[in-house]
């Protein structure tokens, strides 16, 4: 459909959640905003292929997710300094202890396999249905459900179960816990 004013407003209204999705995926604020920018450019260039009345956020998320994936393949995680980077993107710094817990959570999230992380974010944070999330990721609904479940158990193991050795060393988490300087 042509780019009407209302469609443009709708796209603009999706920007905050696109950014949140991009940051959750990449763990890096600058890179996330580049991803969002590229997503918007691509969406506007292909606006004719958007079906009026269909789910605009899901369409935009699909574009962003595919961009992230192709980008990710090119340069696997060169973002070793991602620690603390996410916090920098926040305007409101959480209080110290909350911040620590928050950082710990982010580190754990970052350890999930990409498939699981994106499924968990789409369903657990973006509020998409399993069906929409499956469409965004190009897989079956059952696959999304099992990825979300696995993501949740892994996170709970990383964050709340002491000595979850099956999941490899969690030195980073320990470092965050132990390195508070307190």
């Amino acid at each position: 459909m042509p780019l009407t004013d209302s469609l443009r407003d709708d796209i603009l209204a999706s920007v905050p959640s696109l950014r949140a999705f991009a940051i959750s995926l990449s763990g890096n604020g600058d890179r996330a905003d580049d991803l969002v920018q590229e997503t918007l450019l691509r969406a506007l260039a292909n606006i004719d292929s958007f079906q009026p009345g269909s789910n605009l956020p899901a369409w935009l998320f699909t574009i962003l997710r595919n961009l992230f994936r192709s980008d990710y393949r090119k340069r696997r995680r060169e973002v070793e300094d991602a620690d603390g980077n996410y916090a920098k993107t926040l305007k409101t710094q959480p209080a110290q202890s909350a911040h620590l817990e928050f950082e710990e959570f982010r580190v754990a999230l970052d350890k999930l396999p990409q498939d699981q992380r994106e499924a968990l974010i789409l369903v657990g944070a973006s509020g998409f249905s399993y069906e929409d999330a499956a469409a965004i990721c190009g897989c079956a609904v059952g696959t999304i459900k099992s990825r979300v479940n696995r993501a949740r158990s892994k996170l709970s193991a990383l964050l709340y179960v002491d000595g979850a050795d099956d999941f490899g060393p969690d030195d980073t988490v320990r470092a965050v816990i132990g390195g508070s300087g307190g």
């Binding site: 042509p2 780019l3 443009r8 796209i11 603009l12 920007v15 905050p16 959640s17 950014r19 949140a20 999705f21 940051i23 959750s24 905003d33 969002v36 920018q37 918007l40 450019l41 506007l44 260039a45 292909n46 606006i47 004719d48 993107t89 926040l90 305007k91 409101t92 817990e101 928050f102 959570f105 982010r106 999230l109 968990l120 974010i121 657990g124 944070a125 973006s126 479940n149 949740r152 158990s153 892994k154 996170l155 709970s156 193991a157 964050l159 709340y160 179960v161 002491d162 000595g163 979850a164």
Partner: protein
């Protein structure tokens, strides 16, 4: 009586249903949304608002930079 070596001393194992597990899951959900919503609340940065405003050239001409230069 057998000696009970392995008491369930650990926190609930992941994937096992139970009250503790439910509580952990709700904490995880809460943290995930808190992290996400922090970014959502930042709204639309100017660079994106301007980008979309600039690119309102109609049609899939593939050259969105082409405009009359009118404000």
């Amino acid at each position: 009586m057998k000696d009970v070596k392995s008491q369930a001393s650990k926190v609930a194992a992941p994937g096992k249903p139970g009250r503790l597990n439910t509580e952990i899951q709700s904490r995880i959900g809460h943290q995930l949304r808190a992290m996400y919503d922090d970014v959502v609340r930042q709204g639309v940065p100017d660079r994106f608002a301007e980008l979309i405003k600039k690119l309102d050239a109609p049609g899939p001409t593939g050259d969105p930079a082409k405009s009359d230069g009118r404000d």
